[in-house]
Amino acid sequence: MTPPAPASNRDRSAEGRGTGPTPSQTVGPFYGYALPFPGGGDLAPAGAPDAITVHGRVRDGAGDAVPDALLEFWQADPAGNLAGAPGSLRRDPVTGAVMGRNGVDFTGFGRVATDADGHWALRTLPPGNGHISVCVFARGLLHHLFTRVYLAHDPFLDTLPADRGRTLLAEREREGVYRFDIHLQGEKETVFLDFG
């Protein structure tokens, strides 16, 4: 018996799998040690006078809180610049622990897990283009969802199907504090976006 050559092994598997994109799979319930990091929602440098808080709940089709969703945020800086900066997960090279952003660069990226009550909060600078992009992951969600938080009315919202544009408009609760709930399903279902 001659063992199969390693190359033929690879060729065979390549035939069966095609060349398309790698499929999505759910984030599951056990990402807690891997993905969230301390200060994940603190994009604004400490003491920034124009910092805003955006917060809300994630709810399922029964209206119940989703306690194991993971939200990611990507946004422009106050000047509308979308270059971002490294350092969202800045680590201490001695211990490997997350040290937090350096307080100078605006990384534009945030990551927040919902708490036991489905609540999340982001402390950031106002995006120059008026909105914050959101990516939603959760157990039970086989493929993530994209949406946007608009802090003020935007013509884009008028292009959305009847009346649904308001699901992307954050409610201004008070100076510098905005509320944005995400409904995965149901009457108040949030508009989710597809970038092709």
Binding site: W74, G87, G140, L145, F195
Partner: protein, 246 residues
């Protein structure tokens, strides 16, 4: 009445027979019961704006990872139990271009099939020398590599006698936020594949095969570890910005 594997098998077969071609799982995939209340019922709204913010994305750098982060066997005082493996591959976009300098994060159960998470009550031992979390940045050719141990299969409560095949969770970034991917890598030849509604949610046979790593003997290190290769192709967006030097 409790849900049996036979019930789930029937549902999986029905969904496969009715499947429309596609690379990703449908979000409304009932054999995985947690989807029921968590999938939107409205279709997503297509955004074709060539200047959409989501065509750019977060960047990461040398401050975001440490040199040890891609070796999950060296994060504690002692060595973890289990079969030491290396997993290597390349991350490319839909056009085959390497995704350079981007963040790859992984997490997994230990060799006994247990996560260090308070809500994992599978009565299998925790390993004090294994957390099961790693990260790295892709290289100039989109390459990544992790040293870890082979995770165990574990039970879950989707239905009676539900078991997840061994898998490693992967999180990936492209140059565009719209390329974001969270997925799971499986090991070749796992007998649990046909029973698992999460893997079977990818109804296209070839797409599902792309979630399975290949054992590659040339990647095994003598007297040390077994080698697997798993290449990853990030989907979307249809129009990507070309970024030099990223």
């Amino acid at each position: 009445m409790s849900l049996t594997q036979a019930d789930i098998d029937r549902e999986i077969a029905e969904r496969r027979a009715a499947a429309v071609p596609g690379d990703h799982p449908a979000r409304d995939y009932a054999p995985y019961r947690s989807t029921l209340l968590r999938h939107p019922k409205q279709p997503p709204v297509a955004v074709t704006d060539p200047e959409a913010a989501e065509l750019t994305g977060p960047v990461f750098g040398v401050t975001d990872v440490t040199a040890l982060d891609n070796d999950l066997t060296r994060q504690h005082a002692g060595e973890p139990l289990g079969e030491r493996i290396t997993v290597r591959g390349r991350v490319t976009d839909r056009h085959g271009r390497p995704v350079r300098g981007q963040l790859v994060e992984i997490w997994q159960a230990n060799a006994s099939g247990r996560y260090p998470h308070q809500r994992d009550d599978h009565p299998a031992p925790l390993d004090p020398n294994f957390t099961g979390v790693g990260r790295c940045l892709t290289g100039d050719d989109g390459e990544y590599a992790f040293t870890t141990i082979k995770p165990g299969a574990y039970p879950w409560r989707n239905h009676v006698n539900a078991w997840r095949p061994a898998h490693i969770h992967f999180s990936l970034f492209g140059t565009a936020f719209a390329q974001r991917l969270v997925t799971q890598m499986y090991f070749p030849g796992d007998p649990l594949f046909p029973y698992d509604p999460i893997l079977q949610s990818v109804t296209d046979d070839r797409a599902r095969q792309r979630l399975v790593a290949a054992y590659e003997h040339g990647l095994s290190v003598p007297e040390w570890s077994l080698g697997y290769r798993w290449d990853i192709v990030l989907d979307g967006p249809a129009a990507t910005w070309t970024e030099e030097g990223r």
